[in-house]
């Protein structure tokens, strides 16, 4: 593999292994390949890894491994990485009530217009087209983090829909809101500040500190780097029906195992 890693410091406990500065599925595949190789190498002192769009964060214990030795080892792993052309990937279906009343109110409360209207104007399309373009492609989760359950997903294929971040970030966003900036889709698991354009609200929890549903057996966070998301538009009645099931711990998450191939996007 021809990838070159740049090592960047995150203090005395973490090393950033960077493959580039841009969004690119090929970079993310390299990150995932290195993550897999590093985990199977079982390096003493490597505590955890944080895959992102374009870099792998490696948390290590300096009592057990020195930075220079870790860099040597990772350089060798990168040199030996096989060309990765496909990756196991779950397909997670996420229902969204686009342009829901909470998103509308949140925009109003912050003195900006309806975000769906704004995206329609920015992209020269009508409101319905905003929702159908967003739900019309599959999205690839290439980073997880910020807050528990927050993720960032990039469209697999031409979505033809982009939006800028807010110039002045919001003070709050309701939990469950799905949002867009550039072509990245993200999600607010808990009430939090933010600057992405509001798309709609999902009744499905992607973070549950109480782990009430079996889907949270391993972690209170559902999204993982390497998941694919399919967003399905729902109406108010469907939203409330699904929300009731989620609250009762009875919702059946729609998750299918599969594979994603690396193809030109």
């Amino acid at each position: 593999m021809t990838s070159r890693a740049t090592f960047r410091s995150l203090g005395d406990l973490e090393l950033c292994v960077e493959f580039g500065d841009r969004l690119d599925l090929a970079l993310n595949f390299t990150v995932l390949a290195l993550d897999r190789a590093l985990k199977s190498a079982g390096v003493p002192g490597v505590r955890e890894t944080v895959p992102t769009h374009r870099s792998l964060g490696v948390v290590y214990d300096p009592l057990l491994i020195h930075r220079r030795d870790l860099e040597h080892l990772i350089t060798e792993l990168v040199d030996d990485l096989a060309e990765l052309t496909e990756f196991p990937s779950r397909l997670v279906t996420i229902p969204i009530w686009y342009d829901d009343p909470w998103s509308q109110e949140c925009a109003r409360a912050h003195g900006v217009g309806n975000n769906i209207d704004y995206l329609a104007r920015m992209n020269g399309i009508d409101r319905e087209e905003v929702m159908s373009r967003h739900s019309g492609v599959t999205h690839w989760v290439s980073a997880v983090g910020f807050q528990p359950g927050t993720y960032q997903a990039v469209p697999l294929g031409d979505m033809a829909l982009t939006g800028p971040k807010y110039e002045r970030p919001r003070k709050w966003t309701d939990p469950g809101i799905v949002c867009l900036a550039g072509s990245i889709t993200s999600y607010y698991p808990v009430r939090s500040p933010g600057g992405y354009q509001l798309l709609g609200r999902t009744p499905v929890d992607l973070f549950d500190p109480l782990c009430r549903n079996p889907v949270f057996a391993e972690s209170p966070v559902l999204p993982r780097v390497g998941d694919r998301h399919r967003y399905v538009p729902i109406d108010a009645d469907e939203y409330h029906a699904i929300r009731a099931q989620v609250k009762a711990g009875e919702y059946r998450y729609q998750i299918e195992d599969g594979v994603q191939r690396l193809e030109p996007v």
Binding site: D12, C16, T52, H53, Y60, L63, V144, K165
Partner: protein, 344 residues
């Protein structure tokens, strides 16, 4: 768990009092920060004083140690429900038992019915209270640490409230034997002098995106802690920092602000500079991923210094290389042992 002993009734909760141990490593890839005591050195010493396991180290350790209380600026009022031994460390929040002041960095016997009170901080920001046996709350993802924003750990994922009853795990032997210990004078954490605190940093991971002049400004400025600071992040007030020109694709992909990057990993201690204004040092509840350039990262031994700053305190950032940062880390860890405490 059986054998838990009710130990305190919370009469007044204080400004923000939370149950903390050394935190919850291993979940950064889920977006779950480590949390735990912001001044982990103070909590470790408090635990050693009362005969509890101090645990290992934030983020890279394998043992979170016993849980105690972290108290911000204004401490709680607690009524003891059983005989126990406590130790208060960190900021001086003027601890007292039944109105009589008790020394910091020392273990003290407390009898049922006595009230443990605190005044307002007059040195430092965060006090720690350890109790023999360690606070008994359910471990969540391997730790008892509270993350209020995510609702994880501690007492129902929140700060203490009046009426809460806290329990400890049972101890072997009499609590009396654990009283009367103090921290050795040469193991007490130093306090910043009048010229202010110095936080050691390793430059990067994105110092190369700032102008060289701004990197110099960052290291030469006397910054002041902003009141907009908490366990997620501590903001510093000072001059604006500037960025080098960026390629156009980053404007589309990362955002129009010159400080925007395509999101990548953040470590506790990392310093984001959104729009070049008010550098934010990420705290123990900080985000795991972010889209702003990080000029440097405060090294882990100095997070305890950061945790004790109050708004307005002056701070300088001093660059060290990775070798020096490792040496400082190893030296700081070696200083916390059972030898750190002695009989009065």
């Amino acid at each position: 768990m059986t054998g838990e002993v009710n130990i305190f009734e919370v009469l007044e909760p204080g400004l923000q009092t939370t149950v903390q141990d050394l935190g919850r490593p291993g979940y950064l890839a889920d977006g779950i920060p480590p949390s735990g005591a912001f001044d982990s050195l103070a909590l470790k010493l408090a635990n050693l004083l009362v005969g509890n396991p101090p645990g290992d180290h934030v983020l890279v350790g394998t043992d979170p140690g016993a849980a105690g209380l972290e108290m911000l600026l204004v401490g709680p009022r607690l009524r003891a429900l059983s005989y126990t031994v406590i130790a208060v460390t960190g900021a001086d929040l003027r601890p007292a038992v039944n109105g009589r002041p008790i020394p910091l960095w020392t273990s003290v016997l407390v009898r049922p019915g006595q009230e443990i009170t605190f005044g307002a901080a007059h040195a430092g920001a965060r006090g720690y209270l350890a109790v023999a046996g360690g606070l008994a709350v359910p471990a969540v993802l391997g730790s008892r640490a509270t993350n209020v924003r995510a609702g994880l750990g501690g007492v129902h994922g929140r700060a203490l409230r009046a009426g809460d009853v806290l329990a400890t795990y049972p101890i072997t032997g009499s609590p009396v034997q654990r009283a009367g210990m103090r921290v050795r004078a040469d193991r007490l954490p130093g306090r910043p002098g009048d010229s202010g605190a110095v936080l050691r940093v390793v430059l990067g991971p994105q110092d190369h995106l700032f102008t060289p002049d701004s990197v110099r400004t960052f290291l030469e400025t006397k910054w002041r802690l902003s009141p907009t600071s908490d366990r997620m992040g501590c903001r510093f007030i000072g001059p604006a920092l500037h960025f080098l020109p960026r390629p156009d694709y980053l404007v589309d992909q990362a955002g129009s602000d010159p400080s925007n990057i395509v999101d990548d990993s953040i470590c506790i201690g990392s310093i984001q500079v959104p729009s070049g204004l008010e550098p934010i040092v990420m705290g123990v509840d900080g985000p795991s991923l972010g889209g702003y350039a990080k000029i440097a990262t405060v090294i882990s031994p100095d997070l305890s210094v950061l945790a004790q700053l109050v708004p307005g305190d002056p701070v300088r950032f001093r660059a060290v290389d990775v070798d020096d940062a490792h040496d400082a880390h190893v030296a700081a860890r070696a200083l916390v042992t059972t030898d750190s405490v002695e009989k009065l």
